[in-house]
Symmetry: D2
Subunit: 208 residues, 4 copies
């Protein structure tokens, strides 16, 4: 299906609190979405585990020695598709995902010129949690992404949450085995790449 078209760049920012090498439920669902993207189109994927990076608090472009933000900033500017992936902690996005959103203020501080570079990019969301909070967490991230100038295609989010009080570690229906999660992942992946292709060929005009 992908033909000889140029690959779409996909950047995933994984806000799991776990470090690389440790299994992350969020990464498991991210991989499900990426595998469906690979089936649907030609993609170059880059998954960053935020817990392994230095990301000091603040809203400047560079907040200290080793600050990873300037590099992430360039990666966001260069990507076609941005996926914000986060676990749920107490009903909200993780502190690492919130940190990235705060640092994205850099686009805002350059005002309209800053957010213009995000126009005609497409965004998706992946959420995992033990039992609740996916839709609210997703909603909060959608709001940020929309004002940041991203386009949100239909069913732009894939999530997994278990039943209240069940242990997700032993739940046989967990994540990968849950058919509705796979269906969501396929829809999210297909819509993200299709919308990215549409906007590449038919960019939104500047509103002046």
């Amino acid at each position: 299906m992908a033909g000889s078209r140029q690959a779409l760049n996909v950047l995933v920012l994984n806000g799991s609190l776990k470090h690389d090498g440790t299994p992350s439920n969020t990464e498991e669902v991210v991989e499900l979405v990426l595998s469906h993207m690979r089936e649907a189109d030609t993609v170059e994927t880059d998954v960053l585990r935020l817990s392994d990076l230095t990301l000091p608090p603040g809203v400047g472009m560079n907040e200290g020695a080793g600050d990873a933000w300037p590099e992430i900033y360039e990666k966001i500017k260069a990507t076609d598709i941005l996926v914000i992936a986060t676990p749920i902690w107490w009903g909200g996005r993780s502190s690492l995902t919130q940190r990235i959103i705060e640092r994205m203020d850099t686009f805002d501080e350059e005002a309209h010129a800053g957010r213009d570079v995000l126009r005609n990019k497409v965004a998706g969301i992946v959420i995992t949690g033990s039992e609740d909070g996916a839709q609210a967490t997703m909603a909060g991230i959608m709001e940020v992404l929309s004002f940041m100038n991203f386009t949100l295609p239909p069913q732009c989010c894939t999530y997994w949450v278990g039943e209240v009080g069940m242990d997700p570690k032993t739940d046989p229906q967990r994540r990968g085995a849950n058919k509705s999660v796979d269906t969501m992942a396929k829809q999210t992946a297909g819509n993200l790449v299709a919308m990215a292709r549409i906007l590449k060929d038919n960019p939104l005009p500047e509103i002046t």
Copy 2:
């Protein structure tokens, strides 16, 4: 345990979209909380199914023929414990529960004098949904209740939500069979009655 103390009044406003006579998941969890209240203390309970009442939109005391609000308003003024019970529809409280919250503006319109009658009352929350949204729905209701002058004891909410994509109708762990829901219900019930007794004997002073 209850001794010869005067019964505590408990008013439950059930915002289920289903009419009385139809089983409501929300009512099932409400009954679980009420049964634990009865074990913990002497209570007089009154459960209103909002879908059976006439509650026109608006923020006046009486919004038309048959308006049930004036009677509910008096019941809220007379209760010791108010329980807001709602199903989750698309991540939010039901339209019937939202209607009640809008109508509670009547207390607000009478300004500080209005909300004063709600002081030293205790509030709890019951939430049910097929798979997600309990904590966000609960949080939104807590915010309203706090500004309305209610006290929220620890673990003031009991909820049930299932795993994403599972059919709650066939899920063997549903609601009543879920031990963590029963634990929550016991905590919610016990804390509501204990706090109501404490505030009856030791009312908060007026802050002037």
Copy 3:
């Protein structure tokens, strides 16, 4: 700018608690967005004041005598652009807006076939409140619209909220006089019509 293209259909569902003939802050901001749409393209607009319609609680297609839902359902199916407009009441969308979202379950009940008719439609949001809650209310509605199959273009929401404790009735910066609201309205309007045109000419493929 619009040329001789066929008009885009725009359906606005205004969830104000006020009845037609009474000024609605929400309608004021809706009209601002619509005026920018008319400058940007050829549009046919239809604004429904929900408070004037009969919309019983429930999730069936027809919930009783005079139920306006079947007609709204057909209008949603026929529109190119859907705008959900709501005041904020206690941090949430109005009971009338929540009622519409519940009734949209009709699309869901027809399962995938049902929501397919909403694919390649574009959605926007208008929010007004006296002082707080716009972004959370907007976020919650975005989540519903995305899963319902709508595409959300950049800056798809326009909102007005005042400073905490200020009386919006006497605030000289209120709504229409607030330049940032006009800027948002222009962006929202321009993006909605541009994205609707793009999707009319380049529809998203079905994901199978």
Copy 4:
């Protein structure tokens, strides 16, 4: 009014992104609440600026060299009143406040025994933002605090947000000059200390 009673301990966790020495809007409102507490009762206050502390991501008790969490953990256990103070960043609590909430999982990991030490403590909230998001941010924090076993008295939150698009730096009604913020601060302060006294003398029983 305070008489010769033992001072109430008040711990404030300020999640501002700004470092100590830099004016923080959040600290300005915190000080307003604390000044009303001092008028109402005898209090010992401890305000921690989280941005100046080392707080690595994770859910263990000690997440690396210099981790400030073990000390904060002990301070929370010893306080009578906990105040969570946070700026709003894109509709949510700051990454530093979210980090603290994640680290509070330490109480959870010790399961019921862990959260038992938080019982009979009282909690309040302070929120500041440029224009929107206070009630949603407050609501999300209330939900965490309730399940963590804190009691939330009436009007437990004080917040300041400005009008959409206005520059809070030049707004003459900003924070301290806003009478409704002062009213909220007085109510929050008075209710927190009154409830702390009530629970010191009349602790909630254990629910078993």
